[in-house]
């Protein structure tokens, strides 16, 4: 029955990943909150975002934060769905929807971050 209902993996790796990404997200979130609420401008003006985005490592942090958040969130949602009895077709539909939504919105986020120009670098060249 269980062999039919689920895959061969026990799920322990995804369980552990959920804990690791969770702790990482807490650390990222603390940094995020400090940056966004240091004062009203630091979190809410275009100039502040542009200034931060001149540092590529800051873009990388954002990309990692977004990716981890999406993974942790959608894996968490899947964990909730999995608590209910589902027909195989419904399972497949839900997993597909979560994966597609996750990839689409993560990609959108990447496009947004990469689209922010590097004016300081451009004027230097």
């Amino acid at each position: 029955m269980f062999k039919y209902q689920s895959s061969k993996s026990s799920g322990s790796r995804s369980w552990m990943l959920q804990r690791i990404t969770g702790i990482a997200l807490v650390v990222f979130a603390i940094g995020h909150y400090i940056l966004m609420h240091y004062n009203l401008d630091s979190g809410h003006t275009y100039q502040a975002v542009l200034n931060r985005m001149q540092y590529s490592w800051y873009r990388i942090i954002d990309l990692v934060f977004l990716t981890l958040g999406m993974y942790h969130g959608l894996n968490g949602l899947w964990g909730i769905f999995r608590d209910y009895k589902m027909q195989p077709w419904l399972k497949i539909t839900l997993v597909s929807a979560l994966v597609i939504l996750g990839i689409a919105f993560t990609a959108w986020g990447y496009v947004i971050i990469f689209s922010i120009p590097y004016p300081n670098t451009l004027t230097l060249n």
Partner: protein, 137 residues
């Protein structure tokens, strides 16, 4: 079936909501319920967050028009409310990790209480940080 099982209450499938609500809930059950609610809210917010920042691609004017909405009073209050969800999910998440990996089952109720106290202090602190410059200006 042996007699010893006949007094055990069976789960009524048709009344599953009522049955679930009738369970006696201790701090751990509430933590589990709140963790789900806050988790669902946070992933919904993450999607919204990507959408709301999408005007960054359209340059300064478009972004600041949108941001002027988000920095208005009601949205700042919503942002503060969002912090409740972030705080609960983070603090309870740390608690879950400690229960799973650091023998936390022995002290999880204390941790739950400490999380609430820390959460309320951080929430009020954030309220001061977010609103003091608006009120004192």
């Amino acid at each position: 079936m042996a007699d010893e099982y006949k007094d055990i209450k069976t789960f009524d499938q048709k009344e599953w909501i009522k049955e679930n609500l009738s369970y006696k809930k201790d701090s751990g059950s509430w933590a589990w319920i709140y963790h789900r609610i806050t988790g669902i809210a946070l992933i919904a917010y993450l999607f919204l967050h990507v959408y709301s920042l999408s005007t960054l691609t359209d340059g300064k004017a478009a972004f600041e028009t949108k941001m002027s909405t988000f920095t208005s009073g009601p949205y700042l209050v919503l942002e503060w409310v969002l912090f409740i969800f972030v705080l609960f999910h983070s603090l309870n998440g740390v608690r879950i990790v400690l229960v799973d990996l650091a023998d936390g089952a022995k002290y999880h109720k204390t941790l739950y209480k400490v999380s609430w106290i820390a959460g309320i202090i951080l929430f009020l602190g954030m309220g001061y940080i977010m609103f003091s410059h608006l009120l004192l200006k």
